[in-house]
Symmetry: none
Subunit: 400 residues, 2 copies
């Protein structure tokens, strides 16, 4: 992979439009001999694949199952091993929280303790409503500590995000979450010479909050981990001279797009909403990140049938994408989510890249098995961005 400095020195701005369609968790594993994508009837994707160059991509590297953050960063051309996003930041992005550069964020669990020992790290997977009530109660009592604003944001079930906002904060903190049940809750300490004040604030917060929770059951403790701040990331505009926009329905993906400096549109909740938005804004930008969530959701649920059906539904919309005449159209997943595993997996993503100058291969069907024989081979997702830029004639020659 060439460095961002090299890419920056080669990029030129032009009017060509790039459309990147991410079917979240697209890749699968076969049940009765066929993956979800292979079982789906996808005449439009197949016809497009036969005019495209295809391949398979590793989001991080072979065998590594990525979270949504690293998987998307790779698609946006940022090596996920170089640009790590803290778990606290990801949790906050997933909840749609607007973060400042100087904020420190942690991912939290409500848990059940007995004395100093955690006996259930998830407090029996607390109902989300209960989580909201308890967060609200704590927030009513604790707004600020030593001049640092404290914000507690309920997530699903037992999860929340803790945001500290103030001056001179530092995320270099240890975690109090022992990561296993029946272990002692740990002390949070600063891991460098700068973070002692942040450690003090967090420990004061935990003292106060634990007191407020002492009569709650099962949620009578808070576990914190993944202290982090927004990473320092060069923007997609700065790197690639792209006027980029994100069309997504879930906060996590909007947040990831914002991290790399994309404009994020508020489009609604359905695929139809997203498409409408894309059509309306197609003349105003030159890079479109179009995210489709539910392929992943059905995979996570282990619902093979629904994932197949949903892929077929997406296939029905492909002609509308083509009607927009993007100069470059890439369709892929961020990672695989096989229904068989009910989780993200390490299997590479099927990919098609269409442009007038893509040099087609022999792939006639958009599927994991066919993409193995694609003209792009099996490669690192982080190379997709240079390939899309090249196909849009946005990269000058390297050297003479």
């Amino acid at each position: 992979m060439v460095s961002h400095d090299v890419i920056k020195s080669l990029v030129v701005q032009n009017d060509a439009k790039i459309l990147l369609v991410v079917m979240d968790g697209l890749g699968g594993l076969p049940i009765n001999g066929k993956t979800e994508l292979e079982a789906a009837k996808t005449p439009n994707l197949d016809s497009l694949a036969s005019k495209s160059v295809c391949g398979l991509t590793h989001p991080v590297s072979p065998g590594i199952t990525p979270g949504s953050g690293p998987a998307h960063f790779s698609l946006f051309g940022y090596d996920p091993l170089e640009y790590e996003i803290g778990r606290g930041v990801l949790e906050a992005l997933g909840l749609g929280i607007q973060l400042n550069k100087s904020d420190v964020v942690a991912r939290g669990n409500f848990a059940t303790r007995k004395g100093d020992v955690v006996i259930d790290r998830r407090a029996g997977r607390l109902p989300t409503q209960e989580n909201k009530r308890i967060c609200g109660m704590i927030q009513n009592h604790i707004r600020e500590i030593d001049g640092v604003k404290i914000s507690l944001n309920p997530g699903k079930e037992h999860r929340f995000a803790l945001v500290l906002r103030g001056n001179g904060l530092d995320p270099a903190l240890s975690e109090n979450d022992p990561q296993k049940d029946n272990q002692k809750i740990r002390q949070i300490i600063s891991l460098n010479s700068e973070a002692w004040r942040t450690a003090l604030v967090v420990n004061k917060f935990l003292d106060k909050a634990n007191k407020l929770l002492k009569n709650e059951h099962p949620a009578n403790a808070l576990l914190l981990r993944g202290f982090s701040s927004l990473p320092d990331i060069p923007s997609i505009k700065n790197l690639y001279k792209l006027k980029a926009v994100a069309i997504a329905t879930y906060p996590m993906y909007k947040g990831l797009a914002k991290l790399v400096g994309m404009k994020v549109l508020e489009c609604g909740e359905t695929l139809e909403d997203e498409l409408k938005c894309l059509k309306e804004k197609f003349s105003s930008y030159d890079f479109f990140y179009f995210h489709i969530k539910k392929t992943d959701s059905y995979g996570e649920d282990g619902n093979f049938k629904q994932k197949v059906k949903y892929i077929e539904e997406i296939d029905g919309y492909i002609p509308q994408l083509l009607d927009l005449k993007p100069d470059v159209l890439a369709i892929t997943g961020d990672h695989s989510t096989p229904s068989l595993l009910k989780s993200h997996s390490w299997h590479p993503n099927p990919l098609l890249l269409y442009s007038e100058r893509c040099r087609t291969d022999d792939v006639k069907k958009f599927s994991e098995k066919e993409c193995i024989r694609g003209g792009l081979g099996i490669f690192h997702s982080v190379e997709l961005m240079p390939l899309m830029l090249a196909n849009a004639l946005k990269l000058q020659k390297f050297g003479a």
Copy 2:
């Protein structure tokens, strides 16, 4: 890619002969469904491919279009991102100028100025004859400045190479070329504490030359960029224990071969001349870089038909290459030059590698599409050199 240090520790000298045939700009894009190579009737290359192991190579990385310098360096086993060759040096190599290690070279344009502003960076693409006349005129008046020899070498149209020869010169200079029309000509300044004397000489030269040009039209200004010196490169002999020789007709490729320490033969202008030379010298060396230029030239011209015809012509010579019984024969391009784009492109190069121990694949035809399925897969050109050495049994085991 293993480091040069590792390769060096494994290389052994033996009598096996490696022949690397570079069909410049070989790869293409389909017109009416077939690339130039696919449209060409190439019975000899096809028969050879079926006895070889095939693949596709990226000269730099996916999506990156290389110039001739980086593309060739990669084929010679030098990572082009590690060994960058300055544009001034490449221009001089292309003009066949013999450079010393201590020379500083710039690529120059004759341009049209109005006051301090460039109104045409190429002086209306000055006829080459005019360029020669003006270079001669300036050279007649300026031979030396402050003990530094000045040499002005006309290229094609508006281009020239400026060579400074003397002691203590340093290429860390800014450029006076604003890179765009209707912008002010810039000042050349030293970019480190060592280059101030070189900056002084260059600025004195520009002052004098601009005065000599004041009544010329349209070429009344000189723009300089890409100040550079010969890079510090380990030789192919030192790295690979190869007695290597280059057979090429164009100065650029002879120059690139010289940069890595190959012996360069003066063979003549035609493919027949090159072949004759190869046969005569085949007993005297063990690595042969055989460069064929016109595949690229026809691509650059957008002349699909002539590129096809020329590939067919080359195919006719393959039996003569085989008659020499090289132990290893690799045939590939340095980069793609599709007639469709009339320029270098980022598309990977078709490659065949023949040896008695190459482990063949199912490829039956030498073409971009078939090479996708080759046994070498899609890989970085810089890996070709270790593969050729291995097939020549010139690499020992790594580790025990």
